[in-house]
Point group: C2
Chain length 827, copies 2
């Protein structure tokens, strides 16, 4: 906004929020600064009208008077402050939603039968603030850049809440939750009464834990020494991102407020309140000065953040030379699926859909995010970290238990924790190879493991071309050679796999078809082309397993394994010890849905030969594709599988490698040498585990997650409803600029024709810049996507409202249609 | 404790905490259950005596009476409840610290000049509760096992706080912080007044964020609908470790409390309060039933946790077959350096020093831990996670800025984030090798990087034997062959280094000596033996660099590099591209202090040949060894260095790879292929970054960290004072069972003679069980250590009070002396 805006919160009811607002408005008037006071929710109206009191000049005789400042104000009205007009001293004020009953807003709304949704409150606050800042911005001809220098702001706006920080909004939700997306800087009015140290500090912590910046605490004096105690505590209170120079929160002490008395026919203050305001004049002036300079510093930090980032940070997967300053996005906060992004153009925070789900981690919509945050904060307070070996703590058990009855149900019995998908996969392959050694008799018994160690062969894995398992060397070695694995990137890379080129499944022109890769296992795929109207048919294993294509797949895999066996026998090549696959969908490889019939055939062929099956569900697992375990979609159980990303719902890194008891047993034995000697310092750290346990429950609980539906066919497992509208996806797939669409679970991926993007990228694949241009168009529509080569994708959470997805997919369709119609000069 | 104990907290003052305690005491009496009521801190005494009211029978006529229950009660007295005696109905009560003034305890303490330290309050509460539970346990002959079945508990104890949850203790600290180490389950008395929804919910959140379990909320009714709103919110409130069946917190609604009136000469309740207690009888009975069954469930969970752990978890670096049930430690919580450990013997939570600093991560004492928790919780609430490439958020900048002005000062300009030390080192070696390629002209210019890619040679690193850089394959490849790298553990291991055997430095019999390794660079080390009285002399580079030993070191390293160059030239062996070393101290390798003169010589030799220097400061960095950057101790700056563990102070995983601008520049160029294509989903996640920023400030701020001293010699950098008493270390090093001692910064490591431990382990090294037995002795002294082979070590935090260290090192000395005296049958 073009003028500093603060939200005035109370540590309790009747602590003098409106008096503080009035004091600030008068301080603004003394500086000839236009001030806008907004009361989004008011009860007891119009007998009580805080907006009235704040905007009224001192000519009125008592505070008991009730005349609305301007004709525009009405109960529940939506008139604008400008329409309402200014009161005395250049102060505008406005009441947005009002009820006559002098009770809490949630009760008033219920009793009077006029509810207001949280989103309506948010929308109204945003609209009113925008209108005012536009108004003062243009009227005073001050550009917002004045905020970054020494010049005066164009105005100041105050949003005053009702009651205390956790008092209910009209919907019944807490006000501090309802207003969170705006993250307006907070001025907390402390509680001067006995007990007020506690209520003030608890309120401060409640605001801080929701990510609000608390700019200042202001308290009127009292006999019980509250100010001193609060000031002491607040002066050492650390906030996020404050840096060294911005520690502590200042406390402003006001004179004691006069007792309320009967004035006219109501209880209130008489003219003595103006004396009190005069007494507090210096304090209010100092508070306003502090708040506006705090705001200036906030803006300065956001404006300079890109420069500092370009100077000190080193981003992953980013060519800094190809990242001009204007490409750097300053993220102020997150609320559910949306980023709060600082826009230098509007000098405001704008909400933008995080289309990449922050590298595929985000699992919580706004409402549920609170549950995860709470879990993190409670685990931090209770434990910090706890070293794991031979120790047990509740969150570690809890997260494991949820995993074993969730994605691990019916197959896994053990959970090994590590820090990310890459480490989870390194652990997984160690586990699988040891299991192979035991199964095949290389290690005849646990007691003989050490003796056998010197005679263990070098081994390989069977893997799929285009799959990705992480960036550490062990996982890179499981990838087929690519631009990521060359000596420029991974000097010690050595391919440890036999890599099959898998067939993919994609919606093309409204129909799901199997695409055989060039130089793939089925050259040409002649006579075995397959296609269906729905995705369900493509995943109908009972029918498809009987097709010639399925048999051809099995033959291809068997031939590859036969060849490897012969190579091992005849040439001493490392034998294949395990199957390693990304389950169902290759994520980083380009959102390629692998033909599930091919993956089934591969698993079955490997299992028939006694090879352990390792699935990488880091991307696909934990509801990503609509099922809790991605393996469920294949109808085949792994021996080892890895989970991360959605596992913690989008808060903290944590990965799990789940296994069968047979795999665990392969590491038992008399000595430590038999054990799995792998671990990281923060293995199973309580914060991560507590969040993972909560996230898994959140996805699975039908009382929390509205997207759950029962799966048919007598299976008691739940599944996600379709999140991305299939009709819209079909329409997109029919656009001439679109090669194909992949839509499953939380994933909507659109492969563009290589010619899209003006041929600048060309050739598709990683180096393509095709999708990049569409991404820029979407950004203007408040959607922040990140392309994967020529693949444009959007990722929602398992808890995202499908209505939201519908709006998003329509935006995508619209932008792509413009491209398809060729009427866009940019192309 | 042998009887369920709860802490009664108030959402505000005057919400009826004592009435609730009384109601619970009466409910206990109705079940003939002994009840102990403890008021640790009372003001306005003896006019006000909550203990008096709770224990008094109903025969007294008014609540205004002030007779102390028993003669033992006196102001600030320390008499026991048993001495005080029981009031009516089998209820004991006791007031521990009391002041006459009816103001907040911090004010009363100040005004009356009788302060009480937090530790005194804690000690008193613990002592009183223990005495009571012993008393009822033995008197009633009920074993604590009755708690796990359907039988009744032996008694119930209530600890009632003063004021609200955040009201100050006598010391001025918040009561909820002071009592945190005990983590007594909380009963929160809600606030029925207008505004009480907010104060109750904020208080609930404040308790939960400190890791308290909130068992129940209890509120008296009021006209403002508080109970309904609180009940609604609390019913969806998730706590840590609760599991699926234990979601939500129940709210118990009591009848409205009668108004206070003037009774006798004070304001209070008359006999009508007993009618109110009678009206609430069913509620109190239900609350007591709920609380005791909640307690039973808590105990059951802790008792079964080892079984569940052994059934479902897979610990890192642990042979499960060698982990009997009794070895499994149930960690209830952490407070500063101490674990709260569930002891099945006493059925209580006992504090135990976390001697391994939870795998070398812990940086905060109790007081500072709050700062880190606050940072974590605020970042969680504000951001959750934010995808990093091309994005910037305040915590990422903040943590980088702190690192660059701290451990990276004067050399580093860039920070690359990853998840743990292992990934940080994988990134570091990729960076160093690319830098080598650029320096040596293999990549002539950024534009030609892609063309050059096909002609880049395979390379090796120069590394030290016995060093450890993590468990992922890329870091394993930098380790010399060992039990960790065999095909049993790391099937794809391929040593990528030329490994030098380094000389070590250790205190032996009170003197610091250099130990040349067998088959090391200086066979025999004849004529070059070195030793000093103090560690400072061993680190006096100016003097030592001129010694023949230093010159011999340099010659050894040069010879190794010459040989490698010749091997590359003549045999096409991979050339050496970088130096990779753990800085100063080999941690996992056995707490071996490497002779700093040798590391200096190695760095200088490599730098002279244009080889980038990679330091692994994951263990040694961030104040571990007394300096913020461990490289400071060597007086040599790296090109790349890695930080983790203490970087986040012991809360969450996060690692940083810091580099010079030259290294960063090696990845610049026109295309993405030049960039560093490495990243993890949660790279630079805000929670981790916010904690890292706060932790670094915490260590470095002399107002927070009392252990900082100025370094001499005109260096403006600070250092840690000696934490482990050197005299005591010297005494330990002189014990016959001790081979040598390493004491530096936070580290106290004691290498035992191989014969110690009954020769069971034998041979020292990893497989030794020598230290294990001493560890068991220390556990009985509330010290939880974890041995590294035959090395026993204790690790404190950079903020640990040296007085605490002194007590600990004395315990170690005592236990080892017993061993040395040979008068212990266990040996």
């Amino acid at each position: 906004m073009e003028c500093p805006t603060f939200c005035v919160w109370g540590a309790n009811t009747a602590v003098g929020k409106t008096l503080v607002s009035k004091g600030l408005a008068e301080a603004a008037a003394r500086r000839s600064l236009p001030c806008f006071y907004l009361k989004p929710v008011q009860t007891g109206f119009p007998d009580d009208s805080d907006a009235d009191f704040v905007a009224r000049g001192r000519t009125a005789t008592t505070m008991g008077a009730h005349a609305a400042v301007a004709a525009g104000i009405e109960r529940g009205g939506t008139s604008s402050p400008i329409a309402d007009g200014s009161g005395g001293d250049g102060t505008w004020s406005h009441t947005e939603f009002a009820w006559a009953r002098a009770v809490g807003p949630h009760l008033a709304a219920r009793e009077e039968g006029r509810g207001v949704a949280d989103s309506e409150v948010l929308r109204a606050v945003t609209a009113q603030l925008s209108e005012f800042s536009d108004h003062v911005g243009s009227a005073l001809r001050l550009s917002f850049t004045s905020l970054t220098g020494d010049e005066r702001p164009s105005g100041v706006a105050l949003v005053e809440t009702a009651g205390g920080v956790c008092s209910p909004a009209p919907s019944g939700a807490l006000q501090c939750d309802v207003l969170r997306p705006l993250r307006l800087p907070a001025i907390l009015v402390g509680d001067p009464k006995l007990g007020g140290i506690s209520t003030t500090i608890a309120s401060l912590e409640t605001l801080a834990a929701r990510g609000y910046d608390v700019v200042a605490i202001v308290m009127s004096g009292s006999a019980c020494g509250n100010v001193d105690a609060v000031e002491q505590y607040a002066s050492e209170f650390n906030q996020v991102g404050g840096g060294e120079d911005a520690r502590g929160i200042p406390t402003f002490a006001l004179p004691p407020v006069p007792e309320r008395r009967i004035v006219g026919d109501v209880v209130g203050h008489g003219r003595e309140i103006y004396e009190w305001l005069d007494d507090g004049r210096d304090v209010f002036d100092a508070l306003l000065t502090h708040a506006t300079s705090w705001h200036r510093e906030r803006v300065r930090k956001m404006r300079t953040a890109p420069d500092e980032a370009l100077r000190t940070l080193w981003w992953p997967f980013t060519q800094h030379d190809a990242t001009p300053r204007e490409n750097v996005t300053v993220i102020d906060s997150r609320c559910g699926e949306d980023f709060g992004v600082y826009s230098p153009d509007s000098n405001a925070i704008e909400l933008r859909f995080d289309g990449a789900a922050s590298w595929w981690t985000q699992g919580a919509s706004k409402a549920e995010q609170t549950r995860l945050v709470r879990a993190a904060s409670a685990a931090a307070g209770r434990y910090g970290h706890v070293m794991f070996p031979e120790n047990v703590h509740a969150p570690a058990l809890d997260a494991a238990s949820e995993l074993l009855k969730g994605a691990g149900r019916d197959w896994a019995t053990r959970v090994f924790y590590s820090d990310n998908g890459s480490t989870a996969m390194e652990v997984a392959v160690k586990m699988a190879i040891r299991t192979y050694f035991v199964r095949k008799g290389f290690i005849p018994s646990p007691e003989k493991a050490s003796d056998a160690a010197d005679f263990l062969p070098q081994v390989r894995v069977l893997a799929l071309d285009g799959s990705y398992h992480g960036d550490t060397l062990g996982t890179m070695d499981m990838q087929a050679p690519s631009v990521f694995t060359g000596p420029l990137q991974t000097p010690w890379y050595k391919p440890r796999g036999i890599f099959l080129r898998p067939p993919t499944l994609q919606m093309r022109e409204g129909r799901w078809v199997v695409i055989q890769p060039e130089r793939g296992p089925l050259p040409g795929g002649g006579g075995l082309a397959a296609g269906w109207a729905t995705r369900e048919e493509a995943f109908d294993h009972e029918t498809r397993d009987e097709t010639p294509l399925a048999k051809a797949y099995r033959a291809v895999v068997d031939a590859a394994l036969d060849e490897a066996e012969a190579d091992a026998k005849e040439n001493g090549a490392p034998p294949v010890a395990a199957l390693v696959m990304e389950c169902v969908l290759h994520g980083a490889g380009g959102m390629d849905l692998i033909d599930p019939t091919f993956q089934r055939a591969t698993i079955q062929a490997c299992r028939a030969r006694g090879l352990p099956v390792v699935l990488d569900e880091v991307f696909a697992g934990i509801w990503r594709l609509g099922a809790e375990g991605a393996w469920e979609l294949l109808g085949e159980k792994p021996d080892v599988s890895c989970y991360a990303k959605l596992f913690t719902g989008g808060l903290t890194p944590l990965a799990a490698t789940a296994t069968t008891e047979e795999v665990f047993d392969a590491f038992r034995g008399p000595t430590k040498q038999n054990a799995l000697l792998h671990g990281h310092s923060y293995t199973a750290y309580p914060i991560g585990c507590a969040v993972a346990a909560e996230a898994q429950r959140m996805y699975r609980d039908p009382l929390i997650n509205d997207n759950l539906v029962e799966m048919g066919g007598g299976d008691a497992r739940a599944a996600l409803r379709e999140l991305w509208d299939e009709h819209a996806a079909r329409a997109i797939s029919a656009l001439p600029c679109v090669k194909g669409v992949t839509v499953i679970g939380c994933v909507l991926a659109i492969e563009l024709e290589d010619s899209v993007g003006g041929g600048g990228g060309g050739g598709g694949g990683y180096s393509s810049t095709a999708a990049r241009d569409v991404v820029l168009r979407l950004r203007a529509r408040s959607i922040q996507a990140r392309p994967l080569g020529n693949v444009l994708y959007l990722m929602c959470a398992p808890t995202t409202d499908p209505a939201r997805c519908y709006d998003l997919i329509r935006e995508v369709w619209t932008e792509l249609s413009i491209v398809a119609a060729g009427d866009d000069d940019d192309w």
